[in-house]
Symmetry: C4
Subunit: 128 residues, 4 copies
């Protein structure tokens, strides 16, 4: 199995993020994940920026995805360099930046109403 360098993009966007503030599931909590795959042979350093409707973007969130590994970054768990978390029940969007090319997919699982709603999409890559 070869590693493929240069595959993917270094910047990806996700316009529709939302962390429900209610969880009624038996097995799952309502959560989102930004799922990163690094098919290359160099570890990727990642930073995340979150956009809101009426306040300044929130930055200072970092993650790593090692070479030939995946990292499903749970958005309900990450904390930035100032101890801040993503607010719940608020419409937001995300930018993912990496120092190595990666592939990014966004998924949400919503258990606000007990039974799950599930959605996913590839993020939007910026070709540079």
């Amino acid at each position: 199995m070869p590693h493929l360098n240069g595959v993917g993009a270094k910047i990806w966007y996700i316009p529709d993020c939302f962390w429900p503030d209610i969880t009624n599931g038996q097995h799952y909590v309502s959560h989102e994940a930004i799922c990163v795959l690094n098919p290359g042979n160099k570890d990727a350093k990642i930073d995340l920026t979150f956009y809101f409707s009426d306040t300044q973007p929130l930055c200072g969130f970092t993650a790593e995805c090692k070479a030939e590994r995946t990292n499903h970054i749970r958005l309900d768990k990450i904390v930035n360099d100032q101890g801040r978390k993503i607010p719940q029940g608020v419409a937001y969007a995300a930018m993912v930046r990496s120092n190595q090319p990666i592939i990014v997919q966004y998924s949400r699982l919503d258990t606000t109403q007990a039974e799950i709603g599930l959605m996913t999409t590839m993020a939007f890559p910026v070709n540079s």
Copy 2:
């Protein structure tokens, strides 16, 4: 965190829109959102056109997405310049146009049958 100008596209299409005319959810109403992210440093003026199976397109809907902000445009709430809303229970499609490059994602939450159905996809960009 830098702002990235010129990222995205100015025209996006969504073929599958549908606003259910039934809501049985405890927490959510059936609704759709066109989620816009403007990563650049200029405010984006947006207009929306809706296509139907057998009648003229419906236009005159406008929105804004400020620089480095997101706008999750609720399709059950927008009203055009003639006071018209999107009809419920009807198959339709959407075009999103912006005077600045943006990124667009479409999502639907359906509570017709109490428990939620959830779906999302990036809209289709027109590269110009």
Copy 3:
């Protein structure tokens, strides 16, 4: 509202099609739709081909999407020129061909287990 000619593609593919053979929903039947948007000013003639795991493709299905209209083609309802329908409970895939550029999105609603499952994605365009 201008019409945009030449936007989209003339051939689109959808690898994951499946028409559940069970329906338990109160409001919805299990169904799939290939949703077409024609943003141009010429009517589009469309034909559909369906691929299976171990039998010859099934063709002879046609549809139309008029200029500046949308057609949400219900896959549980279409019949080909020999009176054949899509089989239920079988993994299949689809090709959509049009004589005009169109945009294509695929969605499935599954009520096999009463509450709905919902999924969507843009189809895969062939750039020619």
Copy 4:
């Protein structure tokens, strides 16, 4: 119905894979599928590699998609050349490689909590 050679890509990535280790559905088990469509006239030999967060990639999984056929590869059923299966309840990612151009879509059906969650997306193609 013509066959179209050279359509699609030979390498595709899916960052967000997860095989739930619980199944409570009446009709469905929790499962994932990598759905392949081969529109060309040559049979495609496919191999699959799976990436994890902290262990070496798992390879040696093969599949076939004959000319003008589809193969909905069930990830809960495939076994590699060493008799290994995909682990359940673990975040992972996938690479799909083919010796012929194909189109790839990923879908998941989750019945952990009885009623289904359903999600899908086109995989990310590598253009070569």
